[in-house]
Symmetry: C5
Subunit: 90 residues, 5 copies
């Protein structure tokens, strides 16, 4: 999992039923200092995240499908599983 | 998932039945600014995409097979699941 | 698997039941000389690891779920499976 | 999937039954201009490919096993699924 | 799969039963010219490999578990499946 920041929304014409009712968000991967990197994912939202939120992103298909309750098949790889409250590094 | 742009078609001699009736497209991965990167995938088309289209690409085998209705086995990793209509970044 | 160093803890609002009772740790990937790299993972702890520990990280969902006894589904990709005692290179 | 070029053969002492009767080939990953990159895979051949052939490589274990008819387990990740006849980019 | 060179052994405190009786080796990934790269894996040995050996490494969990006869679950991603005897590039 990695820490990302939601930077936009994506509108796409997809005919697969699994995407109905799910928001697609553009998530930028943050580095260890919390700065945006050039890497991004189009992730399915499972945490009511909005643009600007720092989020926990799971980038693995089987676990992502479980979060969305579409076991075991479904066209998803990355999912936003939580909102980050705090990162503590000593 | 990532945003790609279809830049070509691929013709290959493949004997596996799963590829019958499916178009193989060359998809360039776009960066956050919508510019092409050096990365590409040969993806199976599941969205009637054509050369020049901006598309949503799922790069995970299990989900890709589900989109193509070949559950749970089949020789595919990347699949074009939709046509991008709009990316909104504020 | 790779060798990492625990450099912090993560607090996140996650509603999925699997995360209850599990600590989320920020793990920096070490290179062959034991130096920190820019790569990190948010990993679930299964080895009572603490900040500063050198740990063995499994970065594959199916195996990670098995370690946590959540077979075969669960929203996890990376898990800390052990504490490194020694790396011998001749 | 990506486009590769077969650049060699590999002889290895492997005791697993799945490798009996299967050729291991060294495949260099080609970039969008058809030039070799520094990336390679040791792939199992399922398309009667030879040194010099441009091939379609599937780099995902579950699909690779299906091509080789070893469902669902087997020690393989990359497999050559076809010979490239033509790449058309306009 | 890729070609690696065993460069060390790893001792770790792991409580999972699957690791009992299995050697953990530090494997450096070799490039196309046989030179070491900065990439490494901590791999489970299934080929009686020793430090200095050039080995064939399978870096995919499902296949790796099959080699070790722990189907289908087990905390492993990379496994040494064979000893390289010869790489022929013309």
């Amino acid at each position: 999992m990695y820490i990302g920041q939601v930077s936009g929304t994506v509108v796409a014409t997809i005919k697969h039923r699994m995407f109905e009712g799910h928001k697609l968000l553009l998530v930028e991967r943050l580095d260890l200092d919390g700065a945006a990197t050039a890497k991004y994912d189009i992730a399915v939202d499972a945490a009511q995240a909005g643009v600007g939120d720092r989020v926990l992103v799971l980038d693995e298909g089987t676990g992502a499908r479980q979060v969305l309750n579409v076991e075991p098949w479904g066209p998803v790889r990355a999912v936003i599983v939580g909102i980050i409250d705090e990162v503590n590094t000593d």
